[in-house]
């Protein structure tokens, strides 16, 4: 793995199951890695500055928050304007993730993916219509894939032996 020394790696490994819910969670990591608490905090800060760690935070289950309608909207946007449309769609306040991806023709003609959450499907459909208005005639086809169940959610894990 590029640019991570063995201590950085040990720190990340020690956090993979989640931070300890104790008053001094970084001290717990320090104990397991065998360095000082201040060093753990310093190194985590550096890893955040470098972008290796995007943030330290919680991820909530949207469904438990009442956002039970979760639609992956997918769009076939003309290639010439796909980036431009993507930027506009990604800027909509209700779109949580927006990506340009390759099509898988012939079965999958869609190249723009935008995730939309709502408390009801009607709400998600209304948001989908807003996206359709934005995309305009550059959109040749679209679909929406509602999620039924989370089968797994663990996030990125490091293997023990590294890379």
């Amino acid at each position: 793995m590029s640019g991570l020394d063995s201590i950085d790696r040990s720190i990340i490994e020690a956090t993979q199951a989640g931070l300890a819910m104790t008053p001094r969670p970084y001290a717990e990591i320090a104990r397991s890695v065998g360095i000082g608490e201040a060093d753990v905090i310093l190194r985590l800060g550096r890893l955040m500055q470098r972008g290796v760690i995007r943030r330290i935070a919680i991820a909530p289950n949207h469904y438990a928050l009442g956002l039970t309608a979760n639609g992956m909207t997918v769009w076939d946007i003309e290639d010439e304007v796909a980036s431009e449309v993507g930027r506009e769609v990604g800027a909509l306040p209700f779109v949580t993730h927006c990506y340009l991806r390759p099509r898988a023709l012939p079965s999958w003609p869609y190249n723009l993916f935008a995730m939309v959450h709502g408390t009801t499907r009607d709400e998600v459909e209304a948001k989908r219509r807003e996206i359709a208005l934005l995309a305009g005639p550059a959109c040749r086809a679209c679909d929406i894939l509602y999620s039924k169940r989370i089968l797994k959610k663990t996030g990125l894990r490091l293997s023990a032996n590294g890379g």
Binding site: I12, T15, E37, G45, A57, L65, A91, G162
Partner: protein, 159 residues
């Protein structure tokens, strides 16, 4: 570890829980006593914050608490993948796919392509090798949708 969270979890969240979720989605401070710092911000005792967070984690309201890694910044890679699992084999296929440690998350969706999962690996090569192993293990084609461009605005939702 691989608890399957129901889509319509019936877990009562009070206003305090929602405030905690909103604050902790923004970030967790890098100081020696981070819970005390967050607790002061929302004006509750540290012990209450920890107890509430523990409860929300135990009940599946909070699915992860800790550092979110950027695989690309570490030389690794992410790839969204999809398979069309036949209805009578769906649970079996889900078990096989979830059993791969490279599968970071996996969702059942309403479509002919009914299983969508993200591979997170330490090298770009491992994406292809893992997708091939999943194809061999399931007998299904694994469609790969690597991101070409990200229009990033953040992951936060209002609790």
């Amino acid at each position: 570890m691989m608890a399957r969270h129901p889509m319509a979890a019936n877990i009562a969240l009070n206003d305090l829980d929602r405030r905690i979720v909103n604050v902790l989605q923004e970030g967790f401070p890098l100081v020696a006593a981070p819970f005390a710092a967050v607790a002061a911000k929302i004006d509750i005792p540290e012990s209450q914050l920890i107890a509430r967070l523990q409860r929300m984690t135990d009940t599946g309201v909070v699915t992860r608490f800790g550092p979110f890694l950027d695989a690309a910044a570490m030389g690794g890679a992410f790839c969204l993948c999809a398979v069309a699992a036949p209805a009578d084999r769906f649970e079996e296929i889900a078990g096989i796919v979830d059993g791969f440690p490279q599968v970071a998350h996996n969702y059942e969706r309403e479509h002919a392509l009914n299983m969508w999962f993200v591979l997170a690996t330490e090298s770009p090569e491992e994406i292809d090798s893992t997708a091939l192993r999943i194809e061999q293990a399931t007998g299904l084609a694994v469609l790969r949708f690597p991101k070409l461009e990200e229009f990033f605005i953040g992951f936060r939702v209002a609790a």
